[in-house]
Symmetry: C2
Subunit: 362 residues, 2 copies
């Protein structure tokens, strides 16, 4: 795997500035030349803790690397960064393509940066290889954030298993927090399983919707609405205001029928316009009042702890499964066993038992 | 583990009748004396395929047994029964305690048996050890089914892990189908994870609800409503009819906002009264029209195949996890590692990696 930010072009960038130079584009997309990391673990940690965004960006690339030697450095860097982390609010932002996520994030980012602090915008999109163009596009659509001195935008790690991609994003959160980013947005595309992963690493899950024709949720996977701490209907401007309000009212009715959320918080439904910047403040007043609410009732820390445990157990379970399903003998037999189960020649349980016996014998 | 149905009292029962003697109570609950299975695998299979309910009941007890020698026989019996299975409709019935499940199942059972065939009523309740009384009570509350010559009622397997209990119920379905039961109800309590397990073994998932005060779903776990193919509001009788209709209309609005189900079926909401037997036919007309719909569009077989695969992979995954978490060295260290993760001394991922390295070294 290449590490283009270590290339000569990359090194030509202003490494010592605390922030990305205005107008600079993530060099990850600019160069493909092979090179090696030249910084030591301590260099990375020092750079990150000082808020050097170029060093941060290099460290994130190590996190994303599949090379074992890069992973080894990355893990050490992350571990040494841990004492500097946790001081942020993490917000998941989801919505189907076309809902206006990038424009909204641009407006939201500008809004939350008005009060100071620094914002990192990350993404989880396991399909990113196929849609690389659009993700780069996303970034250029966040026109003002892309050049904001206090913002750091990082596209989704390259495609891979959802677990792998999510893990990298979660580790990137650690690095960003150590670099002093106190607001983290994690964007996801709203049509797949990524939402569960994002939900497992953020404090607040914001779902962007559009007013539709009564089938607002057609594009949204089952279960996503139940994760939302806030649903916001975009494009509530001009002729569209009434429709947006009607959609909001439908969502409110639907949410009313859901069981109460674990946090004790009642999900809110608001309308806004990302493009015309109407209602942005109200959206963020909601998010901040949620943060107050869950910090007071203890749920904020409780959920962070649960998430930390979740990722430990999830990583273990994934690794156990990978060991089994990538075993050459097992993977050669698996489809046959599955066929026999489907043909009623053996039960699901017998097939499982026989495969496990084989695996354990090896 | 005891096998009371092999005791002398049990053997005194009419073993040759194709059905349970009217008025007989499941002997599982009557005797605690120790004894051994005396039938051969072929005896079990022959008895089951002939529809001998006493043999069926003995075989189910083997399925539920934790003894390896019983499990070995059980698995052979199940495998030999496989060619006779699959010819049933399987309906999951869920609802919170107090929703009137037993009374409803009694009425539903009588209704579906009017057209002939045989009905097995099974249950999944991993908490059954604690509530043994109420499950036995449930059975006696199914007054008419309990003495119906074409009905077989079997309480939940004894408490254990959800996976274990669910697996036993799924294996019991195989045996019941081989014994000619063409309608299978699988009951669950509506407050936990059991619904996912039931959903993974039935063709139709029926959710019993009560009209409430706008917080109808307070007792229902998140995600359960999205599994329902039909929601039925019980106790729509007398003064309660208007309230029940209002609840139905709320649920319809809520369901309207859900994404479409994979089957293409739109979940229906009906009101009925289990006790006064109002609207029972309509509930079952809905179930049968679902069956027609999914048999025509191919989803019925597709889902059964997916379920067979699900249980194979689920069993493998559970077993891999059990191997890890029950490893003495791992389980001794796990809590410490978890504490270090929570204290920010290592990341979730590092903790996972270290534990896995340890496990694989052993």
């Amino acid at each position: 795997m290449e590490h283009p930010e270590n290339s000569d072009e990359y090194k030509g960038l202003a490494v010592n500035s605390g922030v990305v130079s205005p107008g600079s584009i993530n060099p990850y997309f600019q160069s493909r030349r092979k090179s090696r990391p030249t910084l030591s673990v301590q260099d990375y940690v020092d750079g990150i803790v000082k808020g050097n965004v170029t060093v941060l960006s290099q460290a994130v690339t190590l996190v994303e690397s599949l090379k074992p030697e890069h992973q080894a450095i990355a893990q050490e860097v992350i571990e040494k960064c841990l004492p500097y982390t946790g001081n942020s609010v993490r917000i998941g932002i989801s919505g189907v393509p076309g809902a206006g996520k990038s424009t909204s994030i641009d407006a939201f980012g500008l809004h939350v940066l008005k009060d100071g602090g620094k914002l990192a915008v990350l993404a989880i999109d396991p399909s990113s290889e196929r849609t690389k163009g659009s993700i780069l596009g996303d970034k250029t659509r966040m026109e003002r954030l892309a050049v904001h001195p206090k913002a750091f935008i990082r596209p989704s790690p390259a495609a891979g298993s959802l677990g792998g991609v999510a893990r990298k994003t979660r580790e990137t959160i650690v690095l960003c927090e150590a670099a002093g980013f106190d607001k983290i947005f994690v964007e996801t595309v709203g049509v797949g399983q990524s939402e569960t992963a994002v939900h497992s690493m953020v404090d607040f899950f914001l779902l962007i919707q559009l007013a539709g024709t009564g089938d607002e949720l057609q594009g949204i996977k089952r279960g996503i609405m139940e994760m939302a701490d806030g649903i916001i209907i975009n494009k509530a401007d001009g002729d569209n205001i009434t429709k947006a309000e009607q959609a909001a009212s439908s969502f409110r009715n639907a949410l009313h029928l859901f069981p109460p959320s674990e946090s004790g918080w009642t999900p809110q439904v608001l309308t806004y316009s990302g493009f015309y910047e109407i209602g942005i403040k109200e959206v963020w007043d909601m998010v901040w009042s949620y943060m107050d609410f869950v910090k007071k009732n203890g749920y904020f820390q409780y959920r962070r702890n649960e998430q930390a445990k979740y990722w430990m157990y999830e990583t273990i379970n994934e690794s156990l499964k990978n060991g089994f399903y990538h075993d050459p003998e097992i993977s050669a037999l698996l489809k046959n066993y599955e066929q026999e189960v489907l043909a009623g020649q053996q039960t699901s349980f017998t097939a499982a038992r026989r495969l496990l016996e084989l695996y354990r014998k090896n």
